[in-house]
């Protein structure tokens, strides 16, 4: 960690980055923090804890406030994938990022069920093995369509429409959210229109979800949201060989009018 702090400090002092976004521990509490040269002492609190934050989401806000500037950011595997998606969607504006890579511990990887618990460049930590528990997905895929409906309806019925899943998602960035469209999701009713509410979210995640699992970790009703999005990731890969978060110059087949996948003639 000392090594990483030094690196960040140097980048700040040399003016390579205007500011730095990372996670800090303050008397045991973990939170995201943004600092510039002016409060460099903050850097002492930098940490790579078990807990996570949607740093990509915070980064897009900071980028909007700092056009044209270089922003340093601490990235784990999931953060890097999120930044790739945000870049594709022009959500970082004219700001650029300088990434400081942190590899997650095997424990964190296991807890997150993370398919790639490390970024492409590692400045701190060591590569842990990928984790891929997909028991529920397999079970659901093998169920009859009737049983699947019963399963999901019971799950969706637990939804209290807190919007936590959307708010935490690093790649949910729209200014106007379809989940708040009164024609699709009438107001004042809980659970929200089923299955419309979750269908919309899943459709929007199909070409964007980077499989970080924050939504599911956030959901107070324990709805296995990630399993739906994982299914959609699989579909996008099978139909179009498209994987969100893979490369910034990939184009989503659902975002362009170009030919792709199997066109039905």
């Amino acid at each position: 960690m000392e090594e990483l702090k030094k690196k960040v400090k140097q980048a700040l002092e040399e003016g390579k980055i205007h500011g730095f976004l990372g996670l800090k521990a303050d008397e045991g509490d973990i939170s995201p923090f943004f600092m510039t040269k002016d409060n460099i002492a903050e850097l002492e609190k930098l940490t790579a804890p078990d807990g996570r934050y949607s740093l990509g989401k915070i980064l897009s806000r900071i980028a909007a406030q700092n056009p044209g500037k270089a922003i340093g950011v601490m990235v784990r595997g999931c953060d890097e994938r999120a930044i790739i998606e945000l870049t594709k969607a022009s959500q970082l504006g004219t700001a650029s990022t300088v990434q400081f890579g942190v590899a997650c511990t095997p424990q964190t990887a296991e807890k997150c069920n993370c398919p790639q618990p490390y970024p492409s460049t590692i400045d701190f930590g060591e590569k842990a093995k990928s984790v891929n528990h997909g028991e529920l997905l397999t079970k659901l895929e093998q169920m009859s369509v009737e049983d699947r409906l019963a399963y999901w309806m019971a799950q969706f019925d637990k939804c209290i429409k807190c919007y936590g899943c959307r708010n935490i998602c690093p790649v949910c960035y729209c200014q106007e959210c379809t989940l708040e469209d009164k024609n699709l999701v009438p107001g004042g009713i809980v659970p929200p229109a089923t299955p419309v509410f979750h269908f919309i979210k899943a459709m929007h995640m199909a070409d964007r979800c980077i499989d970080c699992g924050l939504c599911e970790a956030t959901c107070p009703s324990n709805i296995p949201l990630r399993t739906i999005y994982r299914h959609m990731r699989k579909v996008m890969q099978e139909l179009f060989d498209y994987v969100p978060g893979r490369a910034a110059d990939d184009k989503s087949p659902l975002g362009t009018l170009e030919e792709g996948g199997r066109l039905i003639h």
């Binding site: 469209d181 009713i189 089923t194 792709g260």
Partner: protein, 153 residues
């Protein structure tokens, strides 16, 4: 709702203005016989049919959704139907995964001169939905089966 026999499906048809709607017109104008289950909604291009419209149709009780557009290469907005062709299979997968048979959604291309084809597509799709029975979302309010329909079931 009583038993399945005599069940007449409600199908929402999204028809593109330039080809399929004209094709439907032709089918009607030339007095072709075809199933009367499709409630047509005219859209400017099949590519404008959002997955939201489709799921909303199911939510409101449609037993099936039919999307028709110009043949590939003939879309009046050049590549609008490329979007349709890519999007519909994804929507089908999602429907299937949350428990609505993907067979309840159908995409086909019908040109302005294909009145005959329009009649056939509609009739065949209506038969398919008839055999699938009423949509499982029918009579549900926010995931729960309505008490009345439970009582009459």
């Amino acid at each position: 709702m009583s038993a399945d026999n005599g069940f007449e499906p409600t199908i929402i048809g999204f028809l593109c203005n330039w080809c399929s709607y004209a094709g439907a017109d032709l089918a009607g104008g030339s007095r072709k016989k075809y199933a009367a289950n499709v409630l047509p909604i005219r859209v400017m291009c099949s590519g404008t049919v959002s997955p939201h419209h489709i799921v909303k149709a199911f939510q409101m009780g449609a037993d099936g959704v039919l999307v028709t557009g110009c043949h590939i290469g003939e879309c009046h907005y050049m590549k609008g139907n490329y979007m349709t062709a890519k999007r519909i299979p994804v929507v089908k997968e999602l429907l299937g995964f949350i428990g609505i048979s993907p067979d309840r959604l159908m995409l086909d291309w019908v040109s302005a001169s294909e009145g005959e084809k329009f009649a056939r597509v509609v009739t065949e799709f209506s038969d398919k939905i008839r055999s699938l029975g009423p949509s499982p979302l029918k009579g549900r309010v926010h995931g729960r089966v309505k008490e009345e329909s439970q009582a009459s079931a």
